[in-house]
Every structure is written in C-alpha cells, then in structure tokens.
Amino acid sequence: MNTIFSINGPVVKVRDTKDFSMLEMVYVGEKRLIGEVIGISSEETTIQVYESTTGLKPGEPVEGSGMPMSATLGPGILTNIFDGIERPLKKLEELSGAFIAEGANVPALDTSKRFEVTVTVEVGDRLEGGQIFATCPETPVIEHRSMVPPNVCGEVVWTAKNGWYRITDKIAELKTDDGKTVTLTLAQKWPIKKSRPFKERLPISMPLVTGQRVIDTIAPIAKGGTAAVPGGFGTGKTMTQHQLAKWCDADIIVYIGCGERGNEMTQVLEEFSELVDPRTGKSLTDRTVLIANTSNMPVAAREASIYTGITLAEYYRDMGYHIAIMADSTSRWAEALREISGRLEEMPAEEGFPAYLPSRISEFYERAGYVETLSGKEGSVSIIGAVSPQGSDFSEPVTQNTKRFVRCFWALDKSLAYARHYPAINWNDSYSEYIDDLADYYGEKVSPDFLAYRQRIANILHEENKLMEIVKLIGSDVLPEDQKLVIEIARVVRVGFLQQNAYHKDDTYVPLEKQFNMMGIILELYDRCAEAVSRGVTVSAVTATGLFEKVIKMKYDIPNDKPQLFKDLAEEISKQVSVLETEVI
C-alpha cells in the first residue's frame, strides 16, 4: 500500500512507488480526498489534492483509481451547479450542510432520476464512435442525445425498449470488431484534460449574437470563436459575462465561476431561474450549467474547474449544439497554476508564473471551435474568458498571453466604469478579427449596409478620439463648426448607442435589426446636420432643437418590436433640420 510521505498545502508526495501514472486520479488519506498525480520521479510521486489537506498525516494511504481525472457526462448536467471537480453542490449541501466538508464522494449525476429515453438504433445497425443511439428530453428545451463513446465502434446486438431509464441502466449492447461486448448507458466518462474528438473543423461564419451593441457591432464574436474580457476590479467583467450568459444565442451556457465571489454564483442561480429565455419561453436555467469554485474553495480544484467546464461543453457540442463558455476569471486559474507550481518548486518565469503558462492558455482556447461532429452534425464551442489583470495593468503575463490566443478582445476601461458608462468596453482598445468572417452573415441576414455603417460609426469615434486631444489642450470652443459637430455626434454614439442599460427591459437585449436601425438614425442625423452646418447653420442651433437628446433616448423610446418608429424619427430629423436651414437663408 502506498502512503503519504510529505504534505505541503495542497501538494502531497508519496515515496518509492511505481504504481501511479501521470494525471491519474487518486484518493488521498483516510478521508479519501480526491487528488491528481502531477509529477513522477524515480523517488517520489507528486499529487495535488483538490480539497483542503488540513488534518492529513504522513502514513495515511494513497490509492490509485486507474484512470485520469474524468468528468461524468450524461443527462442531468444541465440546470445543475457543480464544484471544480464536478461534484453537485446541492448534493454536498444535503450531505454536509451550508459549509462544504472534505472527502465527500458523491456521484456527479443523480443516479436515481429516470429519463424518458427514445432508442434511435436497431439491432444490426453498425455504430461508430460519437454516433447517437438514444435521446431523452433533459430539460424542456434541450434534447439530450446519448452518443457511443468516441473510442468505441461495433454492431448493435441488443437494445432496450423506449421507456424511463436511469443513467446507470443498460440501453444498448454493441459487439465490437474484435468480438468484445460493450454496454452502452446514458452516461460516459471522459478525461477532462483531453479534448473530445470531432470529424473536422469548419470555417467560422456565424456570429454569436449577444444583443449588446458594442459587442455585436464594434467587436463581434463568432460561434466557435474566442474572446477575452480584461478589466480591473469594478469595471464590469462579471456584469458583461452575466449579460452574455443571459442573452447570447447559444443553445447552452457553461458558466465557470473560477476563483470568484460566492455571492455572484448565488446571483446567477437566483437570477437565471427567474429569467425567461426569449427564444424558448422557458427558464434560462434549463440551458445553463454552472461550475463554481469560489475564491475560498481549494485552489487545486480551481485549476480543474476550467477543464471540467470545457469538457462538459464539448460533450454537448458533439450532440450538435452551440455552446458558449463564460470563464470568470481565467486569471484565477493562472494563479492556481502559479501556486501549485510554486509548491512544486519549479523554476518560475514572468512574475512567478510557470514557464508553461502560455501553452496552458493556448490549449484551453484551442478547444473552442466550430466543428462537424463525429455524428455529422454541426456544433460549436465559443469561449469568453474574463481576465483580471493585476493592478489593472494589461501588460501582465496573463493578459498578454491571452491576447495572443484569442481573436476578440474587449478591453474594459476604468474611466468609463467610473462614469458609469456600461458596458465599459473601450471602443478604441477593443478589436475583433472575426469581422471579415462574419461579413457575409451580416450582409445577408441584417443588411448589406451593416458593415459600411459600422465602419462609419467607428470612424466617428476615431475622429473624436483625435479631436479630444486638441480639446483637452485648448477647449472645444475654438474648433471649427464641422469638428464641433463630430464631437456632438460622437457623444450621441457613445451615450445613445454604445452605452447600454442592462436593467432596462428593452435595452438589456437589442436585436441586430434594431442595432442597424439605430446606427442608421445616428448617421442620418450626422449627414443632415453636416449638410446644414456646411450651409451656415451653427452647431449650437442644431443641438438646441433637442434632436440629439431624442436620438440618444431612442434606445428606450423605440421598443425592440416596433422598428417602423425609426422612420418617423428619421422624418422628424429631416424636417427640423430643414427648418433651421430655411432660417439661415
């Protein structure tokens, strides 16, 4: 029997053994704490423990499980909230009360719950890995499609009848090519650090519509894409993630609370169960799974939480769904890597982070993508990772390395947040490399003018940015009229378009069509005013009409389902500006 030799925080060492393999899951001590083998040398095996090691003694047993750290995949994942190693927190509560005790071994999924299973294969069918053999309604909105594990294939020799089954019940039996019999159940296991296979990657072509104007219009993310949201504390990272989780048009949301506040997870739990998904009319929780490793939970499980989350996402992707992962925050994950690395006395690279930080970050983001699954369906995993830079300094290693591996960057800005401009995404520092990939979609589904409008809006903001340099030095009074107009219009863009009120019933989610119309009105206002100004109307006369305020308020005044009102507004602009022009003449 192998026994503990040394203990240092979450790192435990075992001496003189050859029984363990790399990344194997192990049970540590009398309490059977869950751990993972992270280093093996001829003398000692190093294990990181996913729970508090308080009370552990040298000499207590360490037992291997014979398999890598794995996630259990099957119906019952959705609507659930798990800790970093996929233990259901509600079950833990029943077991140990409000405070989490160590060594609680509970199955990830409820083994007593029955699902109404429809078997979709017949005896004699040949099944490849990843093919669907049974379906069941997991929640009112998501059909769970049980798949043959990716590494198994063979001929169906037996199937169960349609009916109510538990995840441990036998649904079908396969006879593999080498004559072995494999039992298929609704659940399967998959190692969390290994990405699940798919047939091929498909080119990215669809946006992940979020209903947030600054994102959809200025820096859109694609389905299967990756985005980073860096920002100091109080800039609204979590708010942004919550908004996306609520409104983006993914089928399923995996929300990973990695080293963040406990109350935030509670908030997601409470809020999502009250909110109704506009597309399905059902509760948002029906399409959501939460992974919570709050900042006071064990640090090693924080590292695992990211992998657990993405494994669950890939599993649903393989069924042909579009998944969006919110990882809040990847910096805490990187810090967990640093902490473990420090305990292992590895040579640190930048700021104490291990040298393998960039490769870990890239491995994680590379698991996103738009793919054709093994069963021939299309599915995607999009990753939106929050980054919490130390001291709000974007040059620190986690932000910099993340920037290299994501194609969408939403930089949150402290000064915008201070002025309570939310979402505080800085339009000058943020970018998206997906614009070109998505051009066709915007052109066909929204309007051929969408990208041209977007470009003009971006130009106005850019122009303002340049002018503000001057204004900061000499004040705005000395600018020529046409430049004053740019500053006024840019204010309309910032306050009326980019700023969005998450607590307003219409403004919290804005469909692409309305976003387009809003840009149209702003540009209409700009063009008409520019014309008037060139004919000698002063900017102060134009602003005195109150048109600018009216356009700013259109996000509240024009409901999402009444696009015809934009026409009226355009006419009003035209009329009022014409009046001004006649006055000058």
């Binding site: 909230i81 409000a98 406990g262 509670t266 420090g342 309570r420």
Partner: protein, 464 residues
C-alpha cells in the same frame, strides 16, 4: 496524543523544525512550553516524513534548540465560543486578555472555517442605512456584503468606520440582535483605544467582541486574528441569528504578516514580495461574509486597509478589490480641503447595491439619482482637467456649470458632520437639487418622466 518532544532541530524566523515526529497531521496546533513555564502556540505548516515544520505564533524569541517541550494537539486551531464573547477583549490568537477569565465554551470551532457552499447562500438584498449621504446614495451598504474602505495613512477611515457602526440601522425591522466584531491587526494602541471609546460612547460596547493584535504584538499571531474574529462572527450570525458587522483593520498589516511568514518559509515571491497565494488567502477571509438560507443572521464586513503611498494598484488593495463587493475609496485631496468623509466618489462602488435599492428598499428614483450623480461628477473631473490647462474663464457655459456643480456636490453632499445622520429621503432629494444646478439636457441617464418630476429649476438659492 500526549507525547512531548524535547528540544528543536532548527529555528528560522517564526519557523521551527522538529525531527523524529510520529503521527503529526497537517495544519494541527502545537503547544510549545519553555523551560521557564511560558507557553506558545504553533501550527504545522509542512510535514515531510518524520520532519515537521512549525510556525510559532508568538514568535521564536528566547527559543533555543533545547529549552522547549512540544506537544501536538491532534486538531487544527480551534476557538472556544459562546454568546458571552460579546463585551470581551481577546488577543490576536483568540485568548481573553481582559482579566475576566476564560470563556465558558458552548462549542469550539476551527478558526479556518470551511468554504460556504454557493448553493446555501442567499443573495444579499437588504439595505443598511448608514446616514452618510455618499455611502447611502452612491455605494449603498447591503446586509451580508463585504465593503472595504481603501484609505491612506492619516486619513479619517477610523472616524468613518465608527460613524457607520454608530448610525447603521442594521437590525431595524427584523428584531434580530445586532453586534460588532472588531479585529485590530497591527494598528497602534491609540487606534484600538479610539474604537473602544467610540463603542462605549455609542453604548454598544457590551455588544462588541474585540480581537486585538496591536502593532507591537507578534506578527505571526496577526495571521490568526481575522480568522478568530470571523469564526466568532459566523457563530453569532449563523447559530445565534444575530446581524454582525465585522470591522477588520488594517488589512495591509495583515498582508504584510503573510508576506513575512511566506518569505521565512522560502517561498517564491510574487508581486512586491507578496506570495502568489495572497489572493486565495485574502479570499478565505473576505468570503466569510454573507447570508445563509434558513438562518436569520448575517455577517457584513467592513475591512479597512491603508494603501501604501496611496497607490490603489498596490497588491493589497488590488487583490482586495477583486474579492470584495465594491470599495469605498478615501481621497487625500478631499481630506486636505477639509471635507469629511473624504470619499472619492468615482472609484468607489457597491456591487450589491443594484439589487438592494429602489422600490421596496429605498426609493424608486434611487438608481436614477445615483447613476446621474456618478455620470455628472465624472464630467466635473473632465472640466477640471480642462480648466487646469486653459483656465476656468475660457470654459464653455456647460463646463462652468459642471465646475459649479462639482464644488457644491462636494461641499453639500459628500461632506457632512461626523454625527450627522441623514435620512435616505434627505439624501436623495439633496442629490436631485444638486443635479438641478445643471441644464436639464445634461441629465441623460434619467428617464424623462422621473426627470420632469424631480428637476427643480429654483435650486440655486438652496446652495448659497
């Protein structure tokens, strides 16, 4: 286990190494007796085979390799608890030091606590009235929140904390009892005494449990101080159904103690020499605030920290800000211009306020006022920056109005007397009156209806 180990094998700063130990467990408490009869407490921080590394809380002064007897207690650091801890004074390690004898314990609890299951938490929503305009209107304190005060040396954070304690109507309607747990870490004796006197004057001293680790007390003990205090707070809140306000001062000294301990263990330092796990370590304290489903009580934390060199990007305020639910930032400039409380409004924030204000909590127009005040005050800063370049005379009319608004806002809204307790109606109406100094069109965060109702064009004479 009553085996005693005579002598030590190595002493290094606050750490001692003991060889030949059998059956020691990680994180357990040790009792070290010196030959002169005095006792010290320690904790196992690393075990390797039969070698144990111990951290001595009271410091290693006077320890030698042969004058000690060490006993392993077989359990992690625990603290005796009973409702009698209220009104008592403890040292940083949770031992009574007021000469009134030991606590007759109803139970003992591990001071490290256990992580609270997010499923068991109840999202905090109840607003705590503090009577301080800037806090109530702009960074509302919510029961169960952790809202730190970011301050600097010489600023009036203590005065502000005392005012909050005195005026906080924490237990109003619900009839639960209210109590304060006060933990001093590395603060001067005068400061601890100031708090004690203030509690006495406001008549709450019998409802305060004080944990004192003053600046001349052993540094390693400082690591225990907040843990003891929070264990007491959790016990009173979740088992005795009280509303507890925890004041932790000064978190910077605490973090420095963690750094000192870390470096003596030879760990790899992160930013400014603080260990890489400082975030997790601070989180294990701050996260012990909240409300649990099925319990009537709550733990609300007001940690106070002094930002070294007033630098908000220093690791301690930085990491704190990432964990806590907002912050109240004090500003030296305001303090120097005689404004109390010198709350710097823009970087201050309460993350929980959005769900604890408005209809049914404070007043339906609360979020309108606060958003608009923030937005306008941000413009004031822009106008001031511009004025410092081109002079106030050259500013546009609107910018001049902002400058005027800024002055009045600081003078009448932010500033108030230390004993002034403003009602929420007073505060919000004051906000509207100040906003009305600006042209109506500049108020773009408020919806039209509310604005028409609240905009008061004859406001100027109110602030002469």
């Amino acid at each position: 286990m009553n085996l005693q180990y005579v002598g030590l094998n190595e002493i290094n700063g606050p750490l001692v190494v003991l060889d030949g130990v059998e059956g020691a467990s990680f994180d357990e408490v040790v009792d070290i007796r010196l030959d002169d009869g005095s006792a010290r407490l320690g904790r196992v921080v690393e075990i390797s085979g039969n070698k144990a590394v111990l951290q001595v809380f009271e410091g290693t002064n006077g320890l030698s390799l042969k004058n000690t007897r060490t006993r392993f207690m077989g359990k992690p650091m625990e603290m005796p608890l009973s409702p009698e801890i209220l009104g008592r004074v403890f040292n940083g390690a949770g031992r009574p030091v007021d000469g009134l004898g030991d606590i007759y314990a109803e139970k003992t609890a591990d001071i490290n606590g256990k992580p609270l299951n997010p499923v068991s938490r109840s999202y905090p929503r109840n607003y705590i009235h503090t009577g301080i305009s800037s806090v109530d209107a702009l960074m509302t304190l919510i029961r169960g929140q952790k809202l730190p005060i970011f301050s600097g040396s010489g600023l009036s954070h203590n005065k502000l904390a005392v005012q909050i304690v005195r005026q906080a109507e924490i237990a109003e309607e619900s009839g639960q009892e209210f109590a304060v747990v006060f933990a001093a870490m590395g603060v001067k004796n005068d400061v601890a005494d100031y708090f004690r006197r203030s509690f006495e004057e406001s008549g709450v001293l019998q409802r305060v449990a004080m944990f004192l680790n003053l600046s001349n007390d052993p540094i390693i003990e400082r690591i225990l101080t907040p843990r003891c205090a929070l264990t007491a707070a959790e016990y009173l809140a979740f088992e005795k159904n009280m509303h507890i306000l925890v004041i932790l001062t000064d978190m910077t000294s605490y973090a420095e103690a963690v750094r000192e301990f870390s470096s003596s263990k030879g760990e790899i330092p992160g930013r400014k020499g603080f260990p890489g796990y400082l975030y997790s370590d601070l989180a294990s304290l701050y996260e012990r605030a909240g409300v649990i489903k099925g319990s009537e009580g709550s733990v609300t934390q007001i940690p106070i920290l002094t930002m070294p060199n007033d630098d908000i990007t220093h690791p301690v305020p930085d990491l704190t800000g990432y964990i806590t639910e907002g912050q109240i930032v004090l500003d030296r400039g305001l303090d120097q211009s005689g404004i109390y409380p010198p709350i710097s409004v823009l970087p201050s924030l309460s993350r929980l306020m959005k769900d604890g204000i408005g209809e049914g909590y404070t007043r339906s127009d609360h979020s309108d006022v606060s958003n608009q005040l923030f937005a306008c005050y941000a413009k004031v800063m822009d106008a001031r920056a511009l004025a410092s370049v081109i002079g106030e005379d050259e500013l546009s009319e609107l910018d001049k109005a902002y400058i005027e608004f800024g002055k009045k806002f600081e003078k009448y809204f932010v500033s108030q007397r230390p004993d002034e307790n403003r009602s929420i109606d007073e505060t919000l109406d004051l906000g509207w009156n100040l906003l009305s100094l600006l042209p109506k069109s500049a108020l773009d965060r408020v919806n039209e209806k509310v604005l028409n109702e609240k905009y008061n064009p004859n406001t100027a004479e109110l602030f002469e």
